[in-house]
Homo-oligomer: 299 residues x 2
């Protein structure tokens, strides 16, 4: 909480319920408070990764619908304990955190190799798509699909995950067929959308971003840690399904095809809080919060 | 440098010169290497702030052309040593770092008070404006003016600084006339453009962003540090003009009305590096790097 009135500033007001400038719609806290249980879906334990660091747990929701081969590899690598005791080796300001095995200390498990690119996917009828009508600098259409920010091209009949803050991608070499999932990065800065359709995105951090984004930046080129710096150890990576129920992070993500999510978007497109004097009128894809909450305990 | 070929990934390639996919234009390093001295301008010591932290110096270029009253206040506060030994009190992930005097330990110096809003400014003929033709979700027109990212509305005849990564703004209360410059924030996440025209932006961090963006996030609401957490001390804030020449950070900023800057934009709009298989074709305002470099020593 702000410690006094003077600090009632900036974003502070984005999270307080105050008289609206328009009076026509609720604030984001109001929208979330009024949501129904059906507006939320639990994370699938078979598509949820826990990256355990000294500072705590980073929870990643995987997106097998967009990168099935890469997600399968990542799950196999996880089950083989490939990532355990590897390190975060790169933290580049306003760009990415990246982990893997740069010194090739360990071989990839049997059956895990480089993959065909999954940089975008055919747009098919069954694919959920809640369009954001506000426009986009990079793509003809943007919106949300099953809780992920996406872009698509009607002309190309292709859809792809968008490089918003917190999105998780697969490092690769120059060859488009050189990614395996054995090295992953997370976006920690202004959305590097130029990477869209050039790498395979595989998921999104839904909790624990600050454990990555506040890490010391690397002092070598491109944010790699220099020899004199200490890479950040990864204690373990587990699928939620491998973890005892009592140790799981029971999170729910807002359904992006719900009326509640549409109301959330409007609460952020034109903020009703009194602090805001000039409504933005529009919202950019990566500024839409895809809300996550602790699941309520089973009754 | 990447430690082996496997780590030749992602952004790595954004900074290497490799055969172009189009062959039609140079990469950003090529553009900068080919620049002429006249493509750069030095920082004005009378409009440059040094925020000294334990970790080093954050250099801010002030923008008196956009917020003359607020910049004058900030300079007066600096000369009065108002900021010295205050603290960074708020670090909210993907949003802002903020400093000031939340406990009102010290009074504002005589003559320094709340100011009329300077959230935007009339668009005048003499104002430099290099338009970015790529479009924008938030404003009718965007571009660059004297080294700052700006937006403008021809219909309103108004221009304003845009909330890109690294921009510096003035905290205020609900009243638009409640900002003084005594509390400042810096954007450390995806551009919160909804703040445009709602607060006074006063400058941009041109060096040392990582000293702010990697700070521990605050555990209380809105990223304020909780009682159990330690705010980050500010050793001092000085105008460069107050600092002996030998202790100054001698930086130059690219001239945003130069042909070199136009080439830089194109090098980032459609990256020629071999890593990129699908050119973005467009670039968003806050993804354009406004290059800064160490000034060469006087001959």
């Amino acid at each position: 909480m702000p410690r006094n009135g003077k600090f009632f500033t900036l974003a502070a007001l984005a999270f307080l319920t105050l008289p609206a400038w328009s009076g026509t719609h609720p604030s984001m806290p109001d929208v979330l408070a009024a949501s129904a249980p059906a507006d939320w879906r639990p994370l699938d334990p078979n598509n949820t990764l826990y990256v355990e660091l000294a500072g705590g747990r980073v929870v990643i929701e995987l997106a097998p619908g967009f990168a099935p081969l890469h997600v399968a590899n990542i799950k196999a690598l996880t089950r083989a304990r490939y990532f355990d005791a590897l390190s975060i080796v790169r933290v580049q300001d306003n760009y990415v955190v990246q982990w893997g095995d740069p010194d090739n200390r360990r071989a990839l498990p049997a059956g895990i190799g480089k993959l065909a690119p999954e940089f975008d996917t055919p747009t098919v009828r069954k694919m959920p798509f809640t369009r954001l009508p506000d426009g986009d600098v990079y793509a003809p259409e943007v919106g949300f699909s099953d809780g992920f920010p996406v872009a698509r091209s009607p002309a190309l009949h292709r859809t792809w995950l968008a490089h918003c803050y917190g999105m998780v991608g697969v490092g690769r070499d120059l060859d488009v067929q050189s990614g395996s999932g054995a090295e992953l990065y997370v976006v920690i800065g202004h959305a590097p959308r130029h990477l869209d359709r050039n790498v395979a995105l595989v998921g999104r951090v839904v909790q624990g971003m600050e454990l990555l984004s506040a890490l010391p930046r690397g002092g070598a080129a491109m944010g790699f840690y220099a020899q004199s710096e200490t890479p950040i150890p990864i204690k373990s990576v587990r699928l939620a399904a491998e973890v005892a129920a009592a140790q799981r992070s029971n999170l729910e993500v807002i359904r992006t095809d719900s009326a509640t999510f549409a109301a959330l978007i409007e609460s952020r497109r034109n903020r009703p809080e009194e602090f805001f004097k000039v409504p933005a009128g529009h919202i950019e894809l990566c500024n839409v919060p895809i809300a996550v909450r602790e699941a309520s305990k089973a009754p």
